[in-house]
Symmetry: C2
Subunit: 240 residues, 2 copies
């Protein structure tokens, strides 16, 4: 059951008197989705998830509801929770929202970034490169998303950072469904350029780079009308 690398209950263990375990489960699931260990359409049975994490369905339900709110999973009444499968339309919307939020946020970040911030970002990129070279595609993807979130944090806008976090999460699903080619290199270069702009305190450049970066990402997707191309045959034949 645990072939996905989801940490077991014991691995999480007594991690300080943490209040809600639901958050822990939700975070683990979120991470698994970010790293494409859980793909769009997969069923998340309450019993199964609960057994994996060693918690009862109560906790699992709370976690799944959180993910549903982030639109990472879809809860179908009386049928269960499934990893979301963003439609082409939703995919576009996610990137349009990002286009509205991230460039200006990158500008703010450039104007406020401290040397420590830059160092953190540099480490992020290094990890991303390392993961990529190690062939850990999923981990690289997750780190790539964290880079964007970190920029929002540097911009000192917690609210916007939260939104961007949700959008990055959903982008991960979009990429899982609609990714066209495998040249992740361009992305890393984009992040390198962004880092340089931030380090140089060049807000205008950072804004432009971010805008271009998002457009690149969007154009690397295959968003022709195909309402559920990937596993649609299996799903469609399975039920409907």
């Amino acid at each position: 059951m645990n072939e996905l690398g989801i940490p077991s209950a014991h691995a999480a263990g007594r991690e300080s008197g943490r209040a809600t375990r639901a958050r822990e489960v939700a975070d683990s699931l979120t991470r698994a989705i970010h790293e494409h260990r859980l793909g769009p359409g997969m069923k998340l049975s309450e019993d199964e998830v609960g057994e994996i994490f060693g918690v009862s369905r109560t906790i699992v339900r709370a976690a799944l509801q959180q993910l549903a709110h982030d639109q990472l999973v879809t809860i179908e009444p009386h049928r269960g929770a499934f990893v979301a499968q963003p439609s082409v339309r939703e995919a576009r919307e996610v990137f349009e929202a990002r286009a509205l939020l991230e460039p200006r946020t990158a500008r703010s970040a450039a104007e406020r970034a401290t040397p420590e911030d830059i160092a953190i970002l540099r480490r992020h990129i290094a990890q991303e490169h390392a993961a990529l070279h190690a062939g850990q595609d999923g981990a690289a993807l997750r780190l790539s998303g964290l880079f964007h979130i970190e920029i929002a944090r540097i911009a000192d806008q917690a609210t916007i950072a939260e939104f961007i976090g949700q959008l990055v999460s959903r982008s991960s699903l979009v990429i899982a469904l609609y990714w066209r080619r495998r040249n992740a290199l361009c992305e890393s270069h984009a992040h390198d350029a962004l880092l340089k702009a931030l380090a140089d305190r060049d807000g205008a450049l950072a804004e432009d780079l971010m805008k271009g970066h998002l457009l690149d990402l969007l154009s690397s997707l295959d968003l022709r009308e195909a309402p559920g191309q990937r596993r649609s045959l299996k799903e469609a034949l399975g039920r409907a």
Copy 2:
């Protein structure tokens, strides 16, 4: 217990075979917050809320977690759920986020608005005016928020509309805490002007008007450094 006008369980009744009752409770609470029947800092005891709505704590918890995700309530471990009290900083962030999202969305809406959309908006404004004249301040405030959400819907951006919905909700709390003067008239005029721009398909004007409208709103708040001015003394002395 029900002096707040929260509809009882029977009022909600058998409203079609709706799946989740938690959503119903959450919506009622959200509405109560929007209309300032529930003010910042109020405690939402699980037992109490459950009794009012005629559901068990399981449902109430789910509803409260939803609201917590929208940052309308704060859940303190082992202490309970309270209507959120946005800090001055959060208040600023909310309006900065709105400034990023709404003007461009208003432009899109202007470019896409159908005559039916305009009619709907016109009705919204009429209701808003009526509520205002009837002295129903809370209802007017809620309708005023719905106007903004409706614009996002017209722009045909469900994702952004969702974000704006959250921000409008939080704005309601911000207004409850930091509102300075009582001249709600200016706001209505702003909505009138926006409606006209939308009807005229003038995207640029709509964008400008929305930007100005948000700035007006922000400037009508009293956001001096006062970390919890309203009930801070009581709260601060009560615990901390």
